[in-house]
Symmetry: C2
Subunit: 310 residues, 2 copies
DNA sequence: GCATTCAGGACAGGAACTGACCGCAAGAAA
DNA sequence: TTTCTTGCGGTCAGTTCCTGTCCTGAATGC
């Protein structure tokens, strides 16, 4: 049954006799199995006549995915980058899915995933700390399974401590990961920045989850974070046709034509380096509309470039 | 049976009675089912005594993955970015896995994936053309299923044609996707850059795959590509401690200490904009070691920054 | 020691799976 | 049109194997 699903997933078309042979059953049984699949909600199309066969179409629910080794590795790697913040808005889900995949993944595949990590083309966080996706999954699993977690933590003042907590939830906010947890030794709720944690390990000891005050982990984190890394809203007027600008940096912000040869580029960035990158890529004159402090930054950078490239 | 696997995948610990209740079977049957799973090679651990239960460990093979909607979306999105070239070396596998996932994905989920695409934080291809992952999967599926493919193609000289081909294989090379296919109308093997293709559609007509000359699609592409986009090898001496430089741009190249306060940064980039980004992020003096033409580029960019930020 | 929880053998009833045989229908090619 | 291929589905009998209900053991933690 599962094998049938698996075969249907790998190759789109199969003839009845081929499938029956592969599964070592009679063709009648195969037809019945196909029927069963259909009853279960997996739509299997069939074509009659010469060169007919079966194929699995998309249905209303995800069927069990039967992956080979390589595909599993690819999925894990993809989720890893997504969890790292490459795509907005699905970090949490990615971590959850990653935890699930990693949990059932044979160790040899896990090693391959780890090996590939080193080859990741970095999303270039421009100085921002990166979190290790492996740690992230450990934490996510501990949250899910109500297991206590032990880790080292470097506080903002560089003080290093060992912590034992009852993890509550992972929260992704402003490109950073936070763990909301009950600190067992300090007897209180705390938030931890994941990039400041080291070597998190589930102790294996389970606990009964307690309710968080306000019942809103994300809100809790938001309240706790005094200094949210501000994103800057940047507006530039560029002396280049809107079409060209859109082509080069379009997926980065919005471009709005001001005339034949000029346009306005608006984008939201975390640090000004990205603006420099955009300007470099554009190879066109520009004018800073907003914010004023960007001018000083650009001037300073320009001076450095000019002086040191002599 | 599958439901049991699914439950074991979602939550790490389950007590026997809980599982039995959820599946509406007796506990004896549950134990037998667990046994069966174990015989199938899925290692289910069990803990006795108070607070005991079952958990799914990683085994020697990937079990069928049972995903909920959100997880499926996360996986598709992750694979999408990986296929787009965010991670070196697994583009091909990612596309294969993506094709598989997308094929069985209910339409409503597919729409969610598409919706999320627009929110993708771009890997900032700095002017390089981007391929649409949806097109990529269509092509990959056509390759896999031996279906003819119809699409529009814009050649290097901007000439637009309609093509009907028998797709052979997708090849990812130097951050670009190429399709190797037998052009039915031109009666010859051709390579197509995927980013130059528009609206690829499988016609549904299947064909018998022919062998490619040399039996090596990647080699075929390599031979056909005259101008491979060259990557520049850049070496900079930076007036900042190696540790600091490594922290900021370390995942981007290699850092080697030259003294207490200086170090050498080597990286391989496709375009010089990235060097500007690195210099901006470093906020430190530097000296270009290599290549010489980088100096001119930096000077020009510096001048523009200085002039236009006034 | 006791409660809890998993492990697993024996047994009987029954559901469901299987293969064999059949005629039929739909599509493609001659 | 005819013919061939391939999928569709009904019936039937045999048998596998799944299930629930006993039961006793054994490990774990209080």
């Amino acid at each position: 049954m599962l094998r049938l699903l698996s075969l249907l997933q790998t190759h789109r078309y199969w003839s009845g006799s081929e499938l029956a042979g592969r599964l070592e059953v009679s063709e009648r049984t195969l037809r019945r199995d196909v029927d069963r699949l259909r009853e279960l909600g997996y739509p299997v199309d069939a074509n009659r006549g010469v060169a007919g066969g079966y194929q699995l179409r998309s249905g209303t629910a995800m069927p069990p995915l039967l992956l080979d080794d390589e595909e599993a590795v690819a999925i894990a790697v993809g989720l890893r980058t997504a969890a790292g913040g490459a795509v907005d808005g699905i970090e949490e889900t990615s971590v959850r899915a990653l935890a699930k995949v990693v949990q059932v993944m044979p160790p040899r595949l896990r090693r391959r995933v780890d090996a590939l990590r080193t080859h990741t083309v970095p999303a270039f966080t421009a100085g921002g700390p990166t979190v290790d996706a492996t740690d992230l999954t450990v934490i996510a699993q501990a949250c899910r399974d109500d297991e206590r977690l032990r880790f080292g933590y470097t506080a903002r003042d560089d003080e290093r401590t060992r912590r034992l907590v009852e993890p509550y939830r992972l929260v992704s906010m402003e490109r950073r990961w936070y763990l909301v947890a009950w600190d067992v030794e300090r007897d209180d709720w705390r938030t931890f920045r994941v990039d400041r944690m080291s070597a998190p390990k589930a102790t294996g000891a389970r606990f009964r989850k307690r309710g968080i005050p306000g019942d809103d982990a994300a809100g809790f984190v938001r309240d706790r974070i005094a200094a949210i890394p501000t994103r800057h809203r940047v507006v530039l007027d560029v002396r280049s046709p809107a079409a060209r600008v859109a082509e080069i940096v379009g997926h980065w912000g919005t471009v709005e034509a001001l005339g034949e040869e000029t346009c306005r580029l608006s984008m939201s960035v975390e640090t000004f380096e990205w603006v420099v990158l955009a300007i470099a890529a554009l190879r066109a004159g520009f004018e800073v509309v907003q914010p004023p402090e960007l001018r000083g930054y650009l001037r300073e950078t320009g001076e450095r470039l000019l002086r040191d490239s002599a």
